[in-house]
């Protein structure tokens, strides 16, 4: 079967205007506004393109074009030639709800702001007038105007809080929105009553300013989460959530999972994840069901067996008849990871959670006691109620509740942008305190796929020709050579000689590719072997010319040496624990300057080594390829895994980093340390605020307006402090 054709039609939606097609793309490689200009001008200049608009906030491109003049494939190629890779979004699963909620919060914020500020205008006048000689009629007029502004605005902009409070009370618990709702309602009711009684004081501005400040905090928080989630969705688009549809004519096309209907047939190749729920129509293989059932053993399946989306296919090719229309699992996994990260259950969080849980009843209790206390002290029930409202507002534990999650959300977002996915929220704290790093070798320090390591010694012409010859061989090393030379056309008369190599004639010249013996290249092979002792060698000879020898092995990641230096600079001790032969590990350890290394370890021995380090009191960060290192990864205090061909959830590690560079490990450590520091600052801010503010409120020194300002102020300070996690530089090159 040929490679499937990408069916762009499934990703394209109708655009604005007749005969206009629309496509949304997640674009990789955007670094600044100049990229935005390049892309928009570059694509906008192409014929047929009516709209090319890049959203710099979430790195998404909205493209519209006339299908008669150009097509999606052309446009994406043009984008790639500009230097940016792009991946389409599955239109069946756009998350519109978050954008809608963000806008709803902004609308509520705008209404609350309008109302609060105009009421302040009137209230300040009344306060000044009370001190001088404002007439009671004027004051009443201002109060009634304030009521007119406050009541509808409070009803509209307070909805997020009221609805949340009602839901919580219905569920039998108290959350932080309950005291807010009670506070706002009491303040407004009291104010109306006092206005009717022609009193000198009313509290409309307190209620509205409270809502205004709280909404600012909510909007900031929601927006941070939206950004983080947008990057996660971009990463999911990058992993291309598609299924290979088998058409009625047997042709293959690659479509988004949501476009696959019930009863259609889907192809799952060896090593791929099953994209849909269905029944095997033909083929047999083994399935790793751990994602769904938790079983880690492989289950053999054949025709008639049920398979589930998200499970990993083994070595056989399967044709699946779809039972349930796919809902796609990768983006759900990523979202689940994200949700886990955001609802962190870390040590600090658990503490803060419990504190916040006890707090709500405490808040109401304190307010009630204050009310009773002052009433008994004889100042009258209305002033007592005012003080009680102040206490209710100021004791609200919003800052404490936001202290840790706010930082985690911001840090997760920064990490996503750097290509690091966090699997669990408290990973950040554990990363921050790590002082020892253990590296696996194969696939971690080295790239997972072998490549030609002496490419710079080989003439380009030789590589191209060798690559064409390699197409005719089924040897795994040959595939690497043909990929490196980007060969597409094999030689017609090429012949593979089992165990030796491939031979062909071009014109009247003999071409040979294969073992050094096959190409009479043993002498040259020895020289190359001297330089690359652990590489596999393939020779290539044209006629009687001197042979060329390719050394193929898994190369060290390009920035591995720089990363090792950077980590040592940051005070970490480095180790290598590898299952590979000691000879192979020694060379790499020497290159990286790591003295503590062990080779030839079995998985259980790795665990023993890690436990030994932990017994010495070290906090161990293990960086390993998640596939067979799962137990050792679990044995360490915190673990990081490179994502290669493995699906995100298969990595047992706490964090997963994308790409072929090791730099993200350093970046993750830097960001985690900074975030950890900020979390501690936030807890202090929340604690100090409560210790100072509550006694002042109970003692009657705080008006409801001041209470609103102080309480929201503390939340906003905590949230903005969390934003500092985005600042500063992290990663290689920044000490």
């Amino acid at each position: 079967m040929d490679a499937p054709v990408r069916d762009w039609a499934a990703f394209v939606t109708p655009g604005e205007g007749e005969d206009i097609a629309h496509l949304d793309l997640a674009v990789e490689g955007i670094t600044c506004a100049a990229c935005m200009v390049e892309i928009e001008r570059g694509l906008g200049a192409l014929p047929g393109v009516t709209r090319a608009r890049l959203n710099l906030t979430n790195h998404r491109l909205a493209l519209e074009w006339n299908p008669q003049e150009t097509g999606a494939a052309t446009l994406i190629d043009s984008l790639e030639r500009l230097g940016y890779r792009a991946h389409p979004f599955d239109p069946g699963r756009r998350n519109e709800a978050e954008l809608a909620e963000s806008r709803m919060l902004m609308r509520a914020l705008a209404v609350a702001a309008f109302s609060a500020m105009n009421i302040m205008l009137l209230s300040v006048s009344v306060w000044a007038g009370n001190a001088s000689d404002m007439s009671p009629t004027t004051r009443d007029f201002f109060h009634w105007l304030s009521a007119l502004l406050a009541l509808p605005a409070a009803a509209y902009s307070g909805r997020p809080f009221y609805l949340s409070a009602i839901r919580a009370v219905r569920a039998g618990r108290l959350n932080m929105d309950v005291p807010i709702t009670i506070g706002v309602t009491l303040a407004l009711a009291l104010s109306v009553m006092q206005t009717i009684q022609h009193a000198a004081h009313a509290y409309y501005e307190s209620a509205m300013m409270l809502l205004f400040f709280l909404l600012i905090g909510r909007w900031l928080d929601h927006n941070m989460r939206r950004r983080t989630r947008a990057f996660a969705e971009n990463i999911a688009a990058l992993r291309a959530e598609t299924a290979i549809l088998i058409g009625d004519d047997g042709g293959l096309s690659e479509v988004p999972v949501s476009a696959v209907g019930s009863g259609e047939r889907v192809l799952v190749r060896p090593g791929e994840r099953v994209s849909v729920d269905g029944v095997v129509a033909s083929g047999s293989s083994e399935i790793d069901q751990s994602l769904v059932t938790g079983e880690t053993g492989l289950v053999g399946i054949g025709p008639g067996a049920e398979v589930y989306a998200g499970t990993l296919n083994g070595s056989g090719q399967l044709e699946i008849r779809v039972v349930a229309a796919g809902s796609g699992t990768l983006i759900e996994e990523v979202n689940r990871l994200l949700d886990n990260a955001m609802q962190a259950k870390s040590r600090y969080m658990r503490l803060a959670d419990r504190a916040a849980g006890l707090y709500a009843p405490l808040v109401h209790g304190a307010a009630l006691l204050t009310f009773i206390g002052w009433w008994l002290a004889g100042i009258g029930w209305q002033p007592s109620l005012v003080i009680a409202i102040s206490v209710l507002i100021i004791t609200c534990p919003c800052a404490l509740g936001l202290a840790i999650p706010a930082v985690q959300v911001v840090a997760s977002g920064v990490l996503f942008r750097e290509g690091v996915l966090i699997n669990s929220g408290d990973a950040i704290e554990r990363l921050a305190v790590a002082d020892t790093i253990v590296f696996d070798k194969t696939g971690t320090l080295t790239l997972p796929a072998p490549e030609i390591v002496n490419a710079d010694e080989i003439a380009a012409g030789a590589l191209d020709a060798a690559a064409r010859l390699a197409l005719s061989s089924r040897h795994p090393l040959a595939a690497i050579i043909s990929a490196a030379g980007k060969a597409t056309a094999p030689f017609d008369n090429a012949e593979e000689i089992a165990g030796s190599g491939v031979a062909a004639t071009f014109g009247d010249v003999d071409l040979r590719l294969g073992s050094p013996a096959f190409c009479d290249a043993e002498a040259e092979a020895e020289t190359i072997a001297g330089r690359h002792p652990t590489a596999s060698l393939i020779a290539y000879r044209v006629g009687e010319n001197p042979p060329v020898v390719f050394a193929v092995e898994q190369a060290l990641r390009t920035d591995a040496v720089a990363v090792a230096d950077a980590l040592r600079q940051r005070g970490l001790t480095l180790h290598i624990l590898s299952g590979d032969r000691p000879a192979a590990v020694a060379g790499i350890a020497a290159e990286l300057g790591i003295d503590d290394w062990q080779g030839g370890l079995k998985p259980t021995e790795k665990i023993v080594a890690i436990e030994k380090l932990r017994d010495e009191g070290r906090k161990v960060l293990m960086v390993g390829d998640g596939l067979n290192d799962a137990p050792s990864l679990a044995a360490a205090d915190v673990s990081v895994s490179p994502v290669t061909a493995v699906s995100v959830s298969q990595a047992v590690a706490d964090c997963v980093f994308m790409g072929s560079r090791l730099g993200p490990v350093v970046t993750a450590l830097d960001i985690a340390r900074r975030a950890h520091g900020i979390m501690k600052e936030n807890l202090w801010i929340a604690a100090v605020y409560n210790v100072v503010a509550v006694p002042l409120a109970v003692a009657g020194f705080v008006t409801p307006l001041l209470a609103a300002a102080a309480m929201s102020g503390s939340s906003i300070v905590v949230t903005l402090n969390a934003w500092r996690a985005r600042l500063g530089r992290a990663g290689l090159g920044e000490a």
Partner: protein, 59 residues
Amino acid sequence: MDVLLFTIPVALLLGFVFLMAFLWALRNGQFDDLDGAANRVLLDDDVDEADNGNSQSPT
């Protein structure tokens, strides 16, 4: 004092008009890409020489 009966409601009405304008801009999607909007202000639009008969100095 009577003038206040007039001026304050007028002021509130003006404020309300701006509130509506803001809500319209929000619905129009103008706040969806704050980073992009911030940077677009700084971009240069090259003068298109084909359109101008009397072109200014070449960019």
